[in-house]
Symmetry: C2
Subunit: 641 residues, 2 copies
């Protein structure tokens, strides 16, 4: 389908917005009136600029407080409309959005509203434009598309139709059953916005918290499906008022918007494909259908960008945590460390992607690899969702692994079992005596958490949902001693890959300082699964891994909260193990290491009896303990020396 976006959705000046919209591949644009008012050029200049960029101006908006106004204002309002119609000719667009009147003195009589809109439609006919009437969720009298449709039916004029907007309908939990009543050709335009579910004033919610499809929590396919079934074939258009987008780089936001519409098409297609109605089947060919989502089987490896010195320091951490040096790359300064099913790679190859990453961000996670059933298909899907792919230089007989750029520029490799059953390491690495890896106490990567610049969370959400089909869990708000942190987990549908994403709006939290030091996102911690946390802690201590010390008061409270045997609490306290229990009796026992150079840390974690969370209740004590230990740590020499 054709894609369109309102200029108000993006930051910048009008020319900056239009260029970004064209670059993202939209076919059209809604000109938001204020963007035109503030533009230092004529409407014809805007028309010319759009033409040069290959953009069609699909809508001019909004026209406010027209219908049902004080009777002595009607003539003025019609003259005001006529000025806008003339302006639309200069812009070269034939559609205008009229939103329902929000003035307290509006006349609450549908016959009067219909009569006013009939006059407007007559005027529109003379100017050869189409008026679309839209219900604002906070309209004074008209606030539902159902009222709008009743009035438009009454007026019954070829130059008047309906404009639908998902926010105004879904925010008030409006009855969707009458959407199919509206014939597609009476829908002048269709605006789409997602949003987080917030229990707040709907006007404020709309003005500040809208987001792109796939970034929020609305059931947009339930809205779009019936509209398409009724025969609407016009563009899908984004109208997003979002404080973050107003301030974010224009190009990236526009690209996200495009991806959001593609994702919405795929989601809606899936919903309609499951329907038995012939009108649903008829719509399917119009809708975007990318390659299917991969099936996942956990994290194949994590790769760190380091230099020689950092490689040696980090390798010592790995050793103390029970990893064996399992392989050495045949042609590059790249080494593999292994324990159980966990593969960790240190990449200090000069003149490589990893090196560039190291120069920009210091020692950091530069790549992760997901095990998928079909890597070619997974890559195809990613490209269809406009993700950038990456091809590394490979030596002779080395294997090219498909890779995608994450929103922060790091890599996500897609690794499948391969036709010949060979591992990806066999072709590229000289495997060492310890190649099988220790069958140690750590069995797998439970999750790895990233710290992000706060304004990028929405982009990551959409990227993982669309490109990979991941699911997002609920957000947690957690107190760092120096501000609040927001955390949200993305996981593959089977749960084998879990990635908590953390942001902070406050400058001095650990997350924000890390983002600032790293100059961008970066790994915050890596959690290794174990089947015996007490043994794992004992082994780690034995080999000299420093663990984060947990205040004794935490354990006193734990005993009061969970009614645990005193000996058990004492054993937790002795090992600095944190504890959580869910409502079903599932338990999590976990311990944190000290920080690797104030950058990231490791977690050892045991889940019992089906516990599925991440111990959010313990994050605050961890953050406080980290803050308290930071000064001490900095004063001490590094523990591995």
């Amino acid at each position: 389908m054709q894609h369109c976006i309102a200029t108000v959705s993006l930051s910048g000046t009008l020319p900056e917005k239009l260029e970004a919209i064209a670059a993202a591949g939209f076919q059209g644009v809604e000109i938001f009136e204020n963007d035109l008012l503030y533009f230092d050029g004529s409407p014809r200049d805007v028309r010319r600029l759009c033409q040069e960029l290959g953009l069609q101006i699909m809508l001019f908006q909004p026209f406010r407080d027209f219908e049902g106004c004080r009777r002595d204002r009607l003539q003025h309002n019609l003259e005001r409309a006529e000025r806008k119609f003339e302006l639309m000719h200069e812009l070269g667009t034939d559609r205008i959005l009229v939103c329902s009147n929000v003035q307290p003195d509006v006349i609450r009589d549908n016959a009067v509203l219909a009569d006013d809109l009939h006059q407007l439609a007559e005027l529109a006919a003379r100017h050869e434009v189409l008026v679309g009437y839209e219900a604002l969720a906070w309209g004074q009298h008209v606030n539902s598309y159902r009222q709008v449709w009743d009035i438009v039916k009454t007026v019954d004029h070829p130059n008047l139709g309906v404009i639908l907007d998902s926010f105004h309908t879904l925010s008030i939990k409006d009855d969707l059953s009458r959407l199919t009543e509206i014939p597609g050709d009476k829908i002048v335009f269709l605006q789409l916005a997602d949003a987080p579910i917030l229990n707040m004033d709907v006007l404020e919610w709309s003005r500040h918290f809208r987001c792109f499809p796939g970034q929020g929590e609305f059931d947009l396919p339930a809205f779009l499906g019936p509209i398409l079934q009724s025969g609407y074939q016009g563009p899908l258009s984004l109208e997003i008022f979002n404080d973050g987008f107003r301030a974010a780089p224009t190009g990236g936001t526009a690209a996200d918007g495009r991806r959001g519409l593609l994702y919405l098409e795929e989601s809606t297609r899936a919903r309609l494909a499951a329907s038995a109605e012939p009108s649903a089947a008829a719509v399917l060919p119009q809708l975007f259908v990318p390659a299917p989502q991969p099936q996942y089987d956990g994290v194949e490896f994590l790769e760190f960008a380091v230099d020689e010195a950092a490689a040696s320091r980090l390798a010592r951490w790995f050793g103390k945590l029970g990893f064996a040096h399992a392989g050495q790359h045949k042609s590059k300064s790249v080494n593999l460390y292994r324990q159980g099913g966990i593969n960790l790679i240190l990449n200090s190859e000069p003149d490589s992607f990893a090196h560039a990453f190291f120069v920009a961000h210091g020692p950091s996670l530069c790549a992760s690899a997901f095990r998928v059933n079909d890597s070619a298909q997974a890559l195809q899907r990613a490209k269809q969702y406009r993700a950038r792919s990456f091809e590394s230089r490979v030596g002779p007989n080395e294997r090219q692994i498909p890779a995608v750029r994450a929103p922060d520029g790091s890599l996500q490799y897609l690794v499948d079992p391969g036709a010949d059953g060979s591992s990806i390491y066999q072709s590229d690495f000289d495997m060492l005596p310890g190649a099988a890896g220790k069958q140690g106490l750590l069995t797998g990567i439970d999750h790895f958490a990233l710290g992000l610049p706060e304004e990028t969370m929405d982009a990551w959400m959409l990227f993982f949902r669309a490109v990979y089909g991941f699911k997002a869990e609920n957000e947690h708000v957690l107190p760092d001693p120096y501000g609040l942190v927001k955390s949200r987990v993305l996981h593959s549908p089977d749960g084998s890959i879990r990635i908590p994403l953390n942001i902070s709006e406050n400058r001095n939290t650990a997350i924000a300082r890390s983002v600032s030091t790293y100059r961008g996102s970066g790994v915050q911690h890596i959690a290794f699964a174990t089947d015996d946390i007490f043994a794992a802690v004992a082994a780690a201590r034995e080999s000299g891994v420093p663990l984060l010390e947990i205040p004794r008061n935490y354990y006193d409270d734990l005993a009061a909260r969970f009614d645990l045997p005193d000996e058990f609490v004492a054993s937790l306290a002795a090992a600095n193990i944190l504890y959580d229990r869910d409502a079903q009796g599932g338990e999590m026992l976990h311990v944190y290491t000290a920080q690797f150079e104030d950058r990231f840390f490791f977690e050892l974690l045991q889940r019992r009896a089906g516990y599925q969370q991440y111990g959010a209740a313990n994050v605050a004590v961890r953050l406080a303990a980290q803050a308290q230990s930071r000064a001490r740590q900095q004063a001490r020499s590094n523990w591995y020396d």
Copy 2:
């Protein structure tokens, strides 16, 4: 009265919080349980630390979800309480806050709740502690102090009383009439929080948007007055959950909290003093009473910190705007410029306060002077509100003008007519032939606007309300092309001094870039009043002042919006004058200059027919025009060369 604050109100580790609380002059502290849990030391360590700091631990809080729980949990809950009572002994405090149960399965039977609380009170009696029962606004069954009081009366136990919290009562617009029913000695504790009026979920509102008295919009005297009348003589305590405070420097926040409680005492005293009830009069002696608020008579002068080069550049701007060089300081490199009633000072004296300000912030407004009826009294009041005063070095026969440090460290001079009727300039300046100043087209300082770091807005609000008795107008949210800007005006009660304060949460707005470049707050623009805007614009153009060019589209829309004669709109457009009209027909006509070195700009402004606003509707077009002209301006040579 005694002042107290909950540790949760501040950022930092527990020792950092306690030190800041003591330094701000509080007598006591509420220990928020999580701060204790996360603290790397025992409860006795906390007790010792507080003793060293001269702080009394006045309350331990909170104890949750106790009463009306599932019957098989009651015994566990009592044991849980007993552990906390023991902990309170170690802390050395005898009061605990029990907040109303929020669990969905709470038993909704006041007899059961009373019975549970009776058991708790009996246990408390054995441990010699007092339990205060508080209604959370989102309590599952108990959510009003009125229910709490009914239950506490039923229990009728010396170890059980009521805890009142202004947020929980005012947020739900609860009936205040029963506050006086509660005898003062049954009020175990009193928590005070202000908040902006937000139409949102009350739990979210409470957790993120509370603020100190004088920073929000609650009518706190209406809450506190009756409580004092009923005989409560315990401490006034702040319990503030605020995302900004969690991230702000600890010491400054604590000092603001103290100022807020003093302000609340003064405001409540004023309310009670107006009451005829004897119980109101009886309370007055307990309450803070500072020197009265000054009467104002406009801005006496504005002073800029500059070096010699910047002084010369800015002096040329003043000249072109019609100012005369009116005086030269007798002993310092300080010059006075004058037009009508406007005095502008350029201070390039080395080794002075202004010089330090210039070094830190570049060319900037370092001082403003308010005309008051009694400067000594005004200074006394400021000191009573814990503002820092400032004494400049003066030469022989020079006059010492009382001054106060604003929240950003700039100065606010307090100038009164003086006993001998001499002007403040006569003693310090050699007045020049133009000393009378031009009787030009600019007649006064209408307002001067500051750009602030976003997290400092609350502090400025409280400072101006408490120290100066200024009033705050409603906040406006305005779109900059690169993010949103929030603007709020403070004005003296008579309206003769008006100071719009602007903040932005987004990094790339003009305000945020200025704050970042300036390293702190700074003047954004100065608006000069005129009685003839067209003549003022003509004169400014004549002398070569560059005005901000306004897009023609703005004027096309203006004509449509306001139904103005075409010739009038054309004359506005020709002069780049912006126009606004209020509902009463008051009009504002105003024009902006280009930026002085991308720092600040000037506004020429005419108010007609009682217009009292600031043309907020025109700010967006100004911001867009400034963004569009920035690139052009940077390319051009400076206009004054």
